[in-house]
Subunit: 523 residues, 2 copies
């Protein structure tokens, strides 16, 4: 068994912490020995289904213990996890399934009907696996296209395949600047190494009880699954983020660590539930996707009196690039310099990761001068699935070109100032402006459309559309919102729309000046 | 700067913890910013001396802050550290210096005369660097062969060289089964990766204050130097282990972590000083070189009421292979199974390291069956310096063949039962029987000689010689001890000698049956 592959963390946990609780999901508790046995039996099931090494298995489901064990099981048998964002619109999901060529789609009950529709529409999908069936394992192979999870579990255990760190483990779709989502290919080695970077950079212990509240289909949670499995800690799973549930579960399950995005933290501390629960078990609250607005940080620190860490990264980096560690938070919140200033940064490179600020010509940008963040390390993706050109552009010169603009201070802390790739981060989700603009342009009343992120108290940034109405047409903001809602994931739909009649500001070359627009809205 | 090279940990510490205390040695305190500056100036000094990439620099000195900063500085400029065991006899040191071809020998005052002798005897050595000179930096280059450290520090700072993880970083000599010491070549990548394995496996924090008590010329301490530098912790250095000094320094310097060998722990808890000092700052006591005898463990646990971890490994593995972690110690000491049984083991593989028990034919040994420990991982040495044949034998099939015999339990814990390579570990130092036997055979009264390790309360194992006296000769045990002392490091000299007249037990092929001899002495 190659220690650089994803079978290793579960094997190690099952050996060393066999009788310790591995996964808690509602009333279900499994030990590491049980999870290992179940993952091995799933291997037998996958083989019976005819799945072979390299096949993609898509998952469309809310968080669950079964989702987590599936994420641990699939890579053991050379299968590639294609975790789908459940918030996407059907036509977006169809595009992804056709692009990844997934042969199997795993769905929970809430997504069963949608899954059936997708399976009918997507040629490659030949099986649906129903995650939430219950009862005894059916003895005979199920007839037809739909396979109960229990039938998979009823097989003889199989040992993990001998794979290498280069073996493809996951394909995760992110929006693209062209408006066409692209599949980020992460290898076993990418995920193993970033888990190691995290373990080395922050302190985790086998006694940690980690809460999976954000969606497992995101790269951050996928990595934390392997990171905490490796040391044999306990995973506590809830279906998804819920501002009332999170404080209750922290108390009931004595949660010690979790990752939330600032929007979720804001919802928790603004809710009623937080005052009713004892949060003192929590020792480490990590947050990601965007730095914490100062006001929110101050309010949150009084509620969560524990260590804080910020994670900065992107799917292409498996995903952690830099970390703003607990000491910076502790001393920064006390007003001590340089820590207080660093709270506005995205931290400094994690142990094992290189990140540098580069000028457009590839030269190093001096301290304080903004440039593009380039990243190098064993955590950097293998490339984009079937996108040779975009892969070559993103991985030029042996570095990943992140598209994020930042400057570094003299201590190597990174301050993100802008995004080359015209992306908005709203409530922890990435939205590519182009994708939303393309949909807006499909509406007959739209002459010009520009989508920008503007500051928002709840979502940190919100999607804002500036529309120039075509002469002779009348349209209401609500019409455009409804038009988008039918075609895009809810979080991509503009929350505010500004209708104009005068042309948008443009460069000499006719390019819409987004920066100028953002400035108008205080962005 | 490649993150897989040894310049990285110091660069990171200097950036992120510039004004934090890096090194404490007596009254001298240096911050990370100062250490970085001094290491950079040393680079200028090395260049002025004419040292070029790949040159070996030998160091013969007790522990000191300067030794530590030298260990951080040399690899930054592609120079190869050849740390010498100060307990070796002159003829042993001469052999090593000739073998490594070191051009420069760094000595402290205590080893100045010895160093002068070695420099005269060894052709390759063209400079002596005097570590402990003091006063202002001399402006002019020193005349002749002896160079004060201050002169090196007086140079303009130089940035670290662009190197790769494959670049050779250290050559450390270990005894050999042939009686001829061999140089273990560790690359930048080997040491960086093992430091990462340690950071991921055990919890360290930037607030740790680590005591360097065992000699820095050992692989374990060399790795801890990089491990703790990477996170910007504080190194506290004392000249060497001293049972009175260690408890005092733990209290005075609020030490939080250290590595000792069982013999040292025994000396500390048996001494007077321990009762006079508050040891409560210590949170992690690591021990290595051999498992802890049960009685010692019980006595020691009442004195050091902190977390315990055992490290098992060897120079060839940079050096950590497996770890018996704090939880196993805590619950094992409380008598809970399987933890209590595991206290007799060498732990389980560290995160990032593979270790398996193999049969002589290379197949996996089943649970409970002793076989040789094979190790794989980014921490495994590049090979033995100028020993192609021994390298090929040790690194066959892509694994390092450790020569240690062990069985694994069902949970993957390794129980070392014997050593293929006929090695004794006494007070934490490795002694190869062959080397001592070779010296004994040089004595005219010795007909047959067998050197074995026998259990010893103070040294865990002690070197014991069984001698068959040549007919017609008379010799006393003391004569043989004196003969060895003149030719070998003190710790290799037999502590007890058994003189016989009858032949030693032999196999059909005439090989002395060491195991049978050891059994006689309860080994």
């Amino acid at each position: 068994m190659d220690v650089g592959t994803l079978a290793w963390p579960l094997d190690r946990a099952a050996r060393q912490r066999r009788d310790h609780v591995a996964i808690i999901d509602g009333d279900v508790q499994l030990t590491w020995g049980q999870v290992h046995d179940r993952a091995s039996r799933l291997g037998g099931g996958f083989a019976s289904m005819g799945l072979v090494r390299g096949d993609r298995v898509a998952v469309l489901a809310a968080n669950s213990g079964r989702y987590l064990e599936l994420a641990l099981a699939l890579p053991r048998f050379g299968l590639v996890t294609n975790a789908l964002n459940i918030r996407l619109a059907p036509r977006e999901l169809e595009f992804i399934l056709d692009d990844s060529g997934a042969r199997t789609l795993v769905v929970d009950t809430a997504h069963l009907e949608l899954g059936r529709g997708l399976a009918a529409a997507c040629r490659a999908v030949d099986h649906l696996v129903l995650l939430e069936t219950s009862g005894a394992a059916p003895l005979a192979a199920p007839d037809g296209k739909e396979i109960p999870y229990e039938w998979l579990l009823g097989h003889e255990p199989r040992a993990a395949m001998e794979l290498t760190p280069e073996t493809l483990a996951t394909i995760s779709y992110t929006g693209g600047t062209t408006g066409r989502p692209k599949g980020v290919m992460l290898s076993h080695g990418n995920l193993v190494e970033n888990a190691k970077h995290m373990l080395a950079t922050l302190s985790f212990s086998p006694h940690d009880r980690y809460l999976h509240a954000p969606p497992m289909f995101h790269a951050a949670d996928a990595m934390m699954i392997f990171c905490l499995t490796w040391i044999g800690a306990t995973h506590v799973v809830i279906p998804g983020f819920d501002a009332t549930l999170v404080p209750r579960i922290i108390e009931e399950q004595a949660i010690t660590a979790t990752v939330l995005v600032p929007t979720m933290i804001n919802m928790v501390i603004s809710g009623d539930a937080v005052a009713r629960h004892d949060l003192s078990s929590l020792r480490l609250l990590m947050y990601g996707a965007s730095p914490m607005p100062e006001d929110l940080r101050r309010r949150a620190a009084s509620v969560f009196a524990c260590d804080w860490a910020q994670l900065y990264g992107m799917t292409e980096a498996s995903p952690v690039v830099s970390v703003l560690d607990p000491e910076n938070h502790r001393r920064g919140l006390a007003g001590e310099e340089p820590y207080a200033t660093r709270l506005r940064s995205a931290g400094s490179p994690a142990i094992g990761v290189e990140a540098e600020v580069r000028r457009p010509d590839g030269g190093a940008a001096p301290v304080g001068e903004p440039g593009e963040i380039w990243v190098r390390g064993a955590n950097i993706m293998a490339g984009y699935w079937n996108r040779a050109e975009e892969t070559a552009a993103a991985l030029a010169d042996g570095w990943y070109h992140s598209g994020d603009m930042a400057y570094a201070d003299a201590d190597g802390y990174l301050y993100v100032v802008d995004r080359l790739k015209d992306m908005i981060i709203t409530g922890g989700e990435n939205v590519y402006s182009t994708e939303v603009e393309n949909v807006l342009y499909e509406h007959e009343a739209v002459l010009e459309a520009a989508v920008v992120g503007v500051p928002d108290e709840k979502w940190v940034e919100r999607v804002h559309a500036v529309i120039v109405v075509r002469p002779g047409h009348a349209v209401a903001a609500d019409d455009l919102v409804a038009h988008c809602r039918a075609r895009l994931a809810g979080y991509k739909v503009p929350r505010t729309v500004d209708l104009r009649t005068e042309a948008l500001p443009k460069s000499g070359a006719g390019k819409i000046l987004k920066r100028e627009l953002r400035d108008t809205y205080g962005g």
